[in-house]
Amino acid sequence: MLDADFFRRWMTATAASVDREAERLTALDSPIGDADHGSNLQRGFTAVAAELEKEAPQTPGAVLTLAGRQLISTVGGASGPLYGTLLRRTGKALGEASEVSEDQFAQALRAGVDAVMTLGGAAPGDKTMIDALVPAVDALGDGFTAARAAAEEGALATTPLQARKGRASYLGERSIGHQDPGATSSALLIAGLAEAHGE
């Protein structure tokens, strides 16, 4: 079973890896985006970690809805509402239970990913965070390590794609050959799950 402490560790682990990888994320965002993905997410997840320390919500759902709310208000770029919606919807789907099973979490995360697809209008293959998140959710039944591998593979697989959403879509064919920064940071988020689980 996964308790509130597991979800806090997930957010803390993600904040640490986003912090570590901020420059790489921004470098990926510089040829096809506006070169702020790393710093934006760093600001957002730093705020999430600080807020969780201050408030210490007691249920998995409360941890994720609080984190999502922080991301929406602090990131400043499109990744704020997208990641914010992902975590908030996942948190809401978990309800008020003090512990949830891995299976319940997998279902909730799928609801969160669906909400992101609705908000951003992106589908798999559009060269977005969805290309890492959908394979991760599909693999979650086989555990967090499998989900991490699937997300990383999904992020790498965005390189040959042409962007159809966001600022990168204005570049048309010139977006081909670059790994998507959003899919890359999504892989960090999923890797944080495995880390929180001690894998």
Binding site: N40, S73, A78, G120
Partner: protein
Amino acid sequence: MSNESDGKVSERLVGIVLVSHSAEVAASVAELARGLAGGGTAVPVAPAGGTEGGGLGTSAELIAAAAASVDRGAGVAVLTDLGSAVLTVKALLAEGDELPDGTRLVDAPFVEGAVAAVVTAATGADLAAVEAAATEAYAYRKT
């Protein structure tokens, strides 16, 4: 609220929020729309541009504050430019309690839609009419 100078009771006006990645763009479009509206100077219009730190981007806090400041109980029409501006407003609306009741994201071109929205709101039109006028700005072809 009564307006005794023209002898009629003026309606509660629809509020308008202009969300851009740039503080200057949002403020300038607000000024342009008010200027072109003539009598529309009474319409509550608030820009919400850039991040709180003054950079390019979108601030959920600035949007929420702007919406609260123009709410006169007749609804608030939010017009945005692109990317995170659109997504942040949608995410705030999904939160349910971040924006005043009757706040609507209006699908309209930013500059032309803002002018149409402010001019229409100045007539005392309701939110649906303001939204329709702003959206109609897409239909005006330039060539």
